[in-house]
């Protein structure tokens, strides 16, 4: 009796999830099919789930005219993601270790210091001033990841994780004469692997998806990331379509081709779409492990 009830429930859940994932998938399928369609048929007939007049022309066009820009932006995104994730993970775990270590008197102060920024922030203007006028991050590679190297939420996640490591291990290492540096690198990091993978994934995703830092801090096209390139394109189209453009005295600018937009979308989403299924296990596991204090 109970099993059939459970079975019914399971089937119900599966149906719900299936419907939901189909809904999520529809725009993506439209984008892929749009990118493989002929421009004139899209203009005349609109989108469909199956490419209208199947062709690779759009991709050829993109890689023909903008290949250099796209590839450079891709490389930049990749570079920023790798470098940013490494730096961020190092800074975050170090901070997390400091506030989780036993016997450090200021740990509550530092925990509060970080926590405070979760509740209050100076706002965009002071942030922009600080970044450009004092730290000189404008138009630099550093500007693309430095402002994001400490996510307080992930830091607390990591600190919780460190706290779940039995203190006896640390103690025995201390008895053997290990200092904090040694404990951190030889014990905490290896034991905190699952937590580490989780926050690395979160950071990597954040760096990959970010367009805000380039928007605010970068003007040099050499430093454009693929997301910013994409954002730039979409922002321009939306603005022109919204009718605000009329205020600028009838700016008439031919919008980029529909198919080109779709091809750009596919190019940006592709790496994440390929990687995600393999990595998503870590996301779930990491959050659960980190949040249950043992």
């Amino acid at each position: 009796m109970q099993t059939t009830e459970n079975k019914g429930l399971v089937i119900f859940f599966y149906v719900c999830i299936a419907v939901f994932s189909v809904i999520c998938l529809v725009p993506f399928v439209l984008a892929v099919s749009g990118s493989l369609s002929t421009e004139s048929r899209i203009a005349a007939e609109g989108y469909s789930f199956w490419p209208r007049g199947f062709t690779f022309e759009t991709y050829q066009f993109l890689f023909g005219s903008k290949a250099e820009q796209i590839l450079r932006a891709y490389a930049m995104s990749l570079f920023v993601t790798v470098l940013g994730t490494l730096t961020a993970v190092l800074v975050t775990t170090a901070y997390a270790y400091v506030i989780s270590v036993k016997g450090f008197r200021l740990k509550n102060f530092f925990a509060f210091f970080a926590y405070f920024t979760m509740l209050f922030s100076g706002g965009t203007l002071p942030w922009y001033l600080l970044s450009t006028k004092y730290y000189h991050l404008g138009d630099t590679l550093l500007g693309l990841f430095i402002p994001y190297v400490l996510s307080v939420f992930l830091m607390f996640l990591m600190a919780n994780y460190f706290r779940s490591i039995p203190h006896e291990i640390v103690e025995s290492a201390q008895i053997d004469g290990a200092g904090h540096l040694r404990i951190f690198f030889s014990i905490m990091i290896p034991l905190g692997r699952v937590g580490l993978v989780t926050i690395s994934l979160f950071y990597a995703l954040q760096f990959w998806n970010d367009f805000y830092l380039p928007l605010m801090l970068v003007t040099d096209q050499e430093l454009y990331t693929i997301q910013y390139l994409m954002y730039n394109m979409m922002a321009n189209i939306q603005f022109l379509a919204s009718g605000n453009a009329a205020q600028v005295g009838g700016a008439i600018i031919a919008p980029p081709l529909e198919t080109a937009k779709m091809a750009m979308t596919c190019l940006t989403v592709l790496p994440i779409a390929i990687l995600y299924p393999f990595l998503q296990g870590f996301f779930v596991k990491g959050i659960i492990v980190g949040s249950v204090k043992g």
């Binding site: 200021l106 203007l125 001033l129 006028k133 928007l215 605010m216 922002a235 321009n236 005295g249 009838g250």
Partner: protein, 511 residues
């Protein structure tokens, strides 16, 4: 002890943060006071030729919106740079921002943090920013833009003045009058329906009926606002709208403003539109999906649109992708009323309050419209590499990358057409403004601070109640009483009174 240290460091951090903010404000709050150590003394003499070398070196940052093309990037570092250096001894740098940052966003941040740059503006953004002291007063430097002043009309300059001070320099000179007062008709469909022209509302509807019988899949009008093109049928006045709520009667020589939604004209207009909606001239989906209308028009699925002087050839370029044989012609649905213009500018450049050398910026704006040679360079690039000219001066682009956006520079004295534009189009275009009058409200900028709350509420009422009536989606008789009630509750009377007060005061000063 340790606790004390903790508090101390917190205090220090706060002080740094606060000092950071206040410094930014100081820098930005000095309109016009910025020292220009090199330029001010040399004013009008520099307008003429290549005296660039006599000037001290300067650095200029010009912000433009949109995508920077590869060719633009190249030219910005080579020819553009060299020419500007030679003409006005300035090193110019172009920075491109996404359109979302126009009139706010990063532009606001750059202004507030005291960066040295110039970019373009509209009157609304200008009023807001000048109130915060973010623009340089350019009045003393206008003589440096002598060439530009010769091609851009006086009314355009007036549009960017506040209290007699020039806060932005208008650029561009194109026929702007009667924007959206004409009907842009698909001439190919019109001829297919056995008609040659459209001169009245009855003929326009007749065109719709015939074309609809031939092509039931096409929609009629690809917009939801036809108050301008239909004014010949619902009023004897010559109406010109200041914003959604306020119109002026240009045929009367007085300072009376008209509260559009409370006027009898609005009632007649709403009735006409409701008829269009019921008939299907405006498609049913328009009520919920306005952007679709524009893409329908672009893909050749609509019969007519609101016209401007340039749309017959600008619009044709887009439509011809889907319908190669498409031909567009402007028609007015009535005669005898002069076209009204807001000035011939495309846009206007302002200079940030923190700029070290505002005059040099003005000199740069001057270069954009100085002569045919420079115009060709900035708009089209280098002859032979980016474009070719035939014997008639018609342009063929070799490179389709856009440079300094051509809508921005567009000046009828200099602009070039390509081979697909017929001669009579060009003649029509150039003569479009003949007989046009400048709106009596041109140059008036409403200061909305006393009625800011009312304005916000009114905008809400407009979107929710009045736009649907105006577009014909709801029936005037049943929907209007409630809409009027909301308008009154939102404070339309106070808003109109304030607008009238400011406008009358300004109007009296102009006489």
């Amino acid at each position: 002890m340790i606790k004390k240290k903790g508090w101390l460091s917190l205090l220090l951090a706060t002080v740094f943060l606060v000092s950071g903010c206040s410094q930014g404000n100081n820098e930005s709050a000095t309109p016009g006071n910025t020292d220009s150590n090199s330029g001010t003394g040399t004013a009008p003499a520099t307008a003429g030729g290549s005296e660039g070398t006599a000037l001290a070196p300067a650095k200029l940052k010009i912000v433009l919106y949109g995508d920077e093309s590869n060719r633009m990037k190249e030219l910005a570092k080579t020819e553009f740079y060299d020419v500007v250096k030679k003409e006005i001894n300035a090193e110019v740098e172009f920075q491109f921002l996404p359109w979302t940052e126009y009139g706010g966003g990063k532009t606001d941040l750059m202004l507030s943090t005291g960066e040295d740059f110039a970019t373009y503006t509209d009157a609304n953004y200008m009023v807001k920013s000048v109130a915060k002291g973010l623009y340089t007063d350019l009045t003393p430097y206008i003589p440096a833009a002598a060439d530009l002043s010769a091609t851009v009309d006086e009314a355009s300059f007036r549009a960017f003045q506040l209290d007699g001070k020039q806060y932005a320099v208008p650029v561009g000179n194109k026929p702007n009058s009667a924007e959206f007062y004409s009907v842009l008709v698909r001439q190919d469909l019109l001829e297919e329906a056995g008609m040659t022209q459209v001169t009245s509302l009855a003929e326009l509807e007749q065109f719709y009926d015939k074309a609809h019988a031939l092509h039931p899949e096409l929609i009629g009008y690809a917009n939801t606002d036809a108050r301008r093109m239909l004014q010949y049928d619902f009023t004897d006045k010559n109406l010109y709208w200041q914003n959604d709520f306020i119109a002026l009667d240009e045929s009367a020589k007085d300072d009376q403003i008209i509260s559009w939604f409370e006027s009898p004209e609005f009632k007649t207009y709403a009735g006409l539109m409701h008829g269009w909606y019921k008939k299907g001239i405006i498609p049913k989906y328009a009520a919920t999906n306005v952007p679709q209308l524009q893409s329908d028009w672009n893909s050749g699925k609509a019969m007519f649109w609101a016209g401007t002087a340039a749309r017959p050839f600008e619009g044709a370029a887009t439509i011809s992708q889907a319908v190669p044989e498409a031909k567009l012609v402007n028609y007015f649905l009535g005669t005898g009323r002069p076209k009204i213009s807001r000035g011939t500018y495309s846009t206007a450049f302002f200079v940030s309050a923190a700029a070290k050398d505002p005059e040099r910026y003005v000199m740069f704006f001057n270069l954009l419209q100085k002569n045919q040679e420079l115009y060709d360079l900035f708009a089209y690039g280098i002859e032979g590499t980016d474009y070719t000219l035939d014997a008639n001066g018609r342009l063929t682009k070799i490179n389709t990358d856009s440079l300094i956006p051509d809508w921005l520079l567009m000046n009828k004295n200099f602009m070039r057409f390509d081979n697909t534009v017929p001669d009579d189009f060009i003649a029509d275009y150039k003569a479009w403004d003949d007989g046009a009058i400048i709106s009596k409200g041109a140059g008036f900028n409403f200061d909305n601070t006393p009625v800011k709350n009312e304005e916000t509420k009114l905008n809400g009422v407009f979107t929710e109640y009045l736009a649907p009536i105006g577009s014909g989606f709801s029936d005037y008789d049943s929907a209007y009483p409630k809409a009027l009630e909301r308008l009154k509750a939102a404070g339309i009377d106070k808003y109109i009174a304030e607008y009238q007060k400011q406008f009358s005061a300004w109007y009296a000063k102009q006489q």
